[in-house]
Amino acid sequence: MVAFFRTSEGARIQMGTFEELYRTHVQAVFRFAMSIVGNRETAEDLTSEAFIALHRNLDAIDQSLLPGWLLTVVRNRARDLWRRKIVEERFAEGVVATQANTAEPPSMERWILDSPELRPIHRACLMLRYVHEMTRAEIAARLGLTETQVKGHLQYGLALLRKAYKPSETV
């Protein structure tokens, strides 16, 4: 299928095939979908829906809006998923109490947030495992990692934690 795009002056010009557009933008769209849902299967569904929408609107959209246009479709579809989830699970009631806790945090929270030797992924693994009490498999599924990768991140973070919290040397 050949793609046509309108220039800002309204002229239709041939810019390439749908497949070329797919190959150019699919990684960015998939990454964005993963960042929203964190689950490969759902991210692939969202990516697929965005490109189907593109396929149907090929002769009407402005090329300069890609991949932003596709990302907006992903975002809107994700919003629809959440709407469905809210209805199906009466979900909204459970997230009413979302006020952040503003009391002074324990020192370990500051260490996790501020330690310059931790990368964001180490922080997330430590938080999910030791505070939100998830199994390694659950963390792997949530973050799109393998269990081995999760284990590696935890070992690294735990070694630093032990160093920082040696007996009689609390931070």
Binding site: V26, Q27, F30, G68, V95, L161
Partner: protein, 299 residues
């Protein structure tokens, strides 16, 4: 301390035992936080409006939850060639499998639209040909198009980044008797962490002269000015930081610079930075593409 269902390994048991009280208080503190699924969706503005507002408010106030999202987004995901081909086949199959009524419906809807357009043109022509009746008596008053409220202007999201130092800063060594960049910049970065942006900006200014090749001074000063609502003053600081940034920080500098430019009304400059970010692969690509398209639509 109750272990998760897959149990602690020996390392975990040894490391966590002395920290039981700390961890227990952390668990209580974060027991009612929104789930990671909600947080990451809110971060991408992908929740229904009511839920989005509540979770965004939580994200704004919770450094912990922002760090969780940042960690989740620290993973580079991609489709391998096989998955990409499989998805392409699925898309083309779905896109070309239109129901049989699709083309007929589209034909009819186009005809209806054309007929409606002709009626509107005819009505407009008739009203233009007639002398305008007095306003109170005019029957066409109800047909006057209402002015739609203009959409709220789009504002790029601004979230405070975690403090990170470049490798150059961490390994910088001054004269043996002198202080190091890391020591000198620490009070300013503490002020930045505590959201005391005026103090941070003031403390960072002299460091720009003392360490002219250090990226951190102009970068965190620019961020302090931006977060302290001085977007215009932040722009030249971002210019300096961009010249000194290594590739670890380049995308962040360009992103925050575009935020400053947008807030300072320099939309063309912001869009230029965003488009560069959008066409390269980095942690800011998705946000930049989205912001670029939104800025484009209001230009």
């Amino acid at each position: 301390m109750k272990p998760p269902t897959d149990g602690w390994d020996r390392d975990e048991r040894e490391a966590l035992e002395p920290l039981e009280d700390e961890l227990a208080s952390l668990r209580v503190r974060h027991a009612n936080d929104p789930s990671l699924d909600l947080l990451r969706a809110a971060h991408a503005d992908a929740l229904p409006p009511d839920l989005q507002a509540r979770v965004s408010e939580h994200l704004t106030g919770s450094e912990w939850s922002r760090a969780l999202v940042s960690g989740a987004n620290d993973v580079e995901h991609s489709l391998d060639a096989a998955a990409s081909d499989r998805l392409f086949a699925r898309i083309t199959k779905s896109a070309t499998n239109r129901p049989s009524w699709f083309s007929a419906t589209r034909y009819v809807s186009r005809m209806v639209a054309a007929a409606a357009a002709l009626i509107i043109i005819a009505a407009l022509w008739m009203s233009w040909r007639r002398p305008a009746p007095p306003p109170a008596a005019t029957p066409t008053e109800a047909t006057v198009a209402r002015t739609e409220p203009s959409p709220a202007p789009y504002e790029m999201p601004l979230r405070k980044p975690d403090v990170r130092l470049s490798v150059a800063a961490l390994t910088w060594r001054g004269p043996a008797s002198g202080s190091s960049l890391v020591d000198d910049i620490a009070p300013a970065l503490d002020a930045f962490r505590q959201s005391d942006y005026a103090r941070a900006a003031a403390a960072l200014q002299p460091l720009e002269n003392k360490y002219p090749r250090a990226f951190e001074a102009p970068y965190y000063r620019a961020l302090s000015l931006l977060l302290g609502d001085s977007a215009t003053a932040a722009i030249p600081e971002f210019d300096k930081a961009a010249l000194l940034a290594d590739e670890t920080f380049a995308a962040d500098v360009a992103w925050y610079q575009s935020v400053a430019e947008q807030r300072a009304g320099k939309i063309a400059e912001a869009r230029q930075h965003l488009e560069s970010l959008c066409h390269t692969t980095n942690a800011r690509t998705a946000d930049a593409c989205d912001a670029a398209s939104k800025l484009g639509s209001i230009r």
